[in-house]
Symmetry: C2
Subunit: 159 residues, 2 copies
Amino acid sequence: MAQPASKPVALSEEWHEKAVTRCAERGARLTPSRLAAYTELVNSDQPLTAYELVARLEDRKGKKVAPLTVYRHLDFLIGVGLVHRLESKQSYLPCSLGEHSHDSPYLLCSSCGKVDELDASRVTQLLSSLAEERAFTLASSVIELSGVCADCESAGPSA
Amino acid sequence: MAQPASKPVALSEEWHEKAVTRCAERGARLTPSRLAAYTELVNSDQPLTAYELVARLEDRKGKKVAPLTVYRHLDFLIGVGLVHRLESKQSYLPCSLGEHSHDSPYLLCSSCGKVDELDASRVTQLLSSLAEERAFTLASSVIELSGVCADCESAGPSA
DNA sequence: TCGTTATTGTTATATAGTAACATTTTGTTG
DNA sequence: CAACAAAATGTTACTATATAACAATAACGA
């Protein structure tokens, strides 16, 4: 039988709350369409590329979604600090931490594809001081570490 | 009047030496075509995108250059450690430092576009220990800092 | 409710990167 | 040197990522 035009969307109270709050703080409008995009990212256990997100939203809504629409949602969500772009993988994931997640170090597991966000002000401080030594005015930083996560490391070698 | 089929190429002895040595060490072949790509990167004061590099090589040689050819050269040069890819800008620049430049922090000036490569083992060490805390097996790291360089900072505000 | 602004839709296009396979060059070995 | 093997390059086509330009709607304030 045909799928319903729109599958139900699930976003935990916690995440939804965060999205609403973050947008309210900045007077930004969390439209249904933007929320839908955010929800897909939150419900994915791995970062998604923009086009993967397009595909999922199409599945969900049962109709075509223009890539540009998704890119606009991503720009918006990144702007309000709800989503982060992984530069080294051209993909996107929800911020699990607070305000300044953009500069957090990310741990990318090359085995399972999951990404962990670290809250490491130590790193930021060190980088700030390094930049300062060069009289470089630091605006933002990209820190992405690739390797194998603990789960995969303990599971993998035994196989 | 028509341009010569091939403009002269200049690569300082120092850089050339480095390229030759690095390739020799690994039994890799530094062909004229690869050297030409490397030379363009070295002679640019900013990182180049793959297609910018294509354009420059076409200018230089006076005939079409396939993007794929350039990507292959880039892969090669990255492989032997002569070139680094800036993830956050999808662009490429010659490594100014030694062996392990891949994990070096890069300072990207958003004003003049120039990029500085730092030799900061301190950062690598800190990141290693952070990864270790999470039992994460670190393989490689991307550290790209954006901001305004000293030159632009001192020149810019006065304008 | 009118006008303004933000958002979304639509189409086309630019930019970045890869796949598959033919051809040429280089290096090796009999 | 000839013949083979391996590496490098050429050619065409294609996939993936992202943006431009402009039209149509929807939300918001006066």
